[in-house]
């Protein structure tokens, strides 16, 4: 079975570019909704074990976490890490009453996860001609145990970051795939490598 550590440089380059195109679509959706400019990072792709994924995700700071599973042609999970800082400005741009209630804050976090992770996943699926269904996001608190319980031992972490210029808001989106889905994706990448 193919594992993410066997990703060639060319395959990594193709995945990175496809993800970059998907992120552009995601940023545009959010920019139109908030009527502001979003800065996007260069996507990073790495092979990680659940423990390494935990280290990748876990940062000290005032952060909120969501996870969304996806299925059909490929299976995996999208984890979004969202800063609480800057969220009230985002809420204002989304016409929420200030100050934000706890319920409103959660709603905004889930909405942002859904828009950005959803647009990234659908962009990636469309380019790879794969069908995927994304489930609704759920808030979660990361602890080592929840990562030990992930259904894969090797996963491909595709990490992207969105920053909003007018506030201190930032969000990272990490896609995790199991080995079988990775093999499927690598198979479909061949068309780009010709």
């Amino acid at each position: 079975m193919t594992t993410s550590s066997q990703l060639s440089e060319e395959q990594r380059d193709v995945l990175q570019e496809l993800l970059n195109i998907s992120m552009g679509q995601a940023a545009n959706s959010l920019a139109l909704m908030l009527d502001t400019r979003i800065d996007i990072s260069i996507p990073e792709i790495s092979a990680v074990t659940p423990n390494q994924l935990y280290d990748l995700l876990f940062e000290t700071g005032d952060l909120s976490y969501t996870r969304q599973s996806f299925m059909r042609d490929i299976h995996g999970e999208v984890i979004s890490i969202i800063s609480y800082s800057g969220l009230s400005e985002i809420g204002a741009l989304m016409d929420y009453d200030q100050p934000l209630s706890e319920e409103d804050t959660q709603e905004i976090i889930l909405e942002l996860s859904n828009i950005l992770a959803g647009a990234c996943l659908s962009g990636l699926s469309e380019q790879l001609k794969l069908t995927t269904n994304l489930n609704m996001p759920l808030l979660f608190q990361p602890d080592k145990a929840s990562f030990d319980g992930l259904p894969w031992q090797h996963s491909l972490a595709m990490e992207v970051q969105f920053l909003i210029t007018i506030s201190s808001f930032s969000m990272r989106v990490i896609f995790c795939l199991d080995d079988e889905s990775l093999s499927r994706i690598l198979g479909t990448l061949d068309v780009y490598l010709k």
Binding site: Q16, M23, G24, A27, N28, A31, Q127
Partner: protein
């Protein structure tokens, strides 16, 4: 005489797509770079007719490159080819002198139309 083109994009796939999308009827002399810093260095010492510029790149991004190009006496024609097509980004790059903005994934017909507008075809 060939037409000197600088392609700046960190992705090999994207650079290959650009090269493949160049119309065959023009003799292009293509130079490729993988980040904005290399692009700025080459543009300082060489004359290019056309720059095909990505925005999301390491070291210096495409907007940084455009800002530095302002100092050049003769600014080449710059066409931005980017996945980041937010209206605000398009406005900024046009303000900084880019002639056209094309969305990734690049379509051959879009590049051909732009090159025609610029008088290369």
């Amino acid at each position: 005489m060939s037409l000197s083109v600088l392609i700046a994009d960190d992705s090999k796939l994207a650079r290959r797509n650009v090269v493949r999308s160049l119309p065959l009827e023009v003799d292009f002399a293509v130079t490729e770079v993988t980040n904005g810093q290399e692009a700025v260095s080459l543009l300082a010492d060489n004359t290019y007719s056309l720059v095909l510029l990505d925005l999301t790149m390491p070291k210096l991004d495409g907007i940084d490159v455009l800002e530095r190009l302002q100092a050049l006496e003769n600014m080449p024609n710059v066409v931005v080819i980017s996945a980041d097509f937010q209206p605000e980004k398009q406005r900024v790059v046009k303000e900084l002198g880019a002639k056209f903005f094309l969305r990734k994934p690049l379509k051959k017909e879009d590049l051909t139309a732009v090159l025609s507008e610029l008088g290369y075809l």
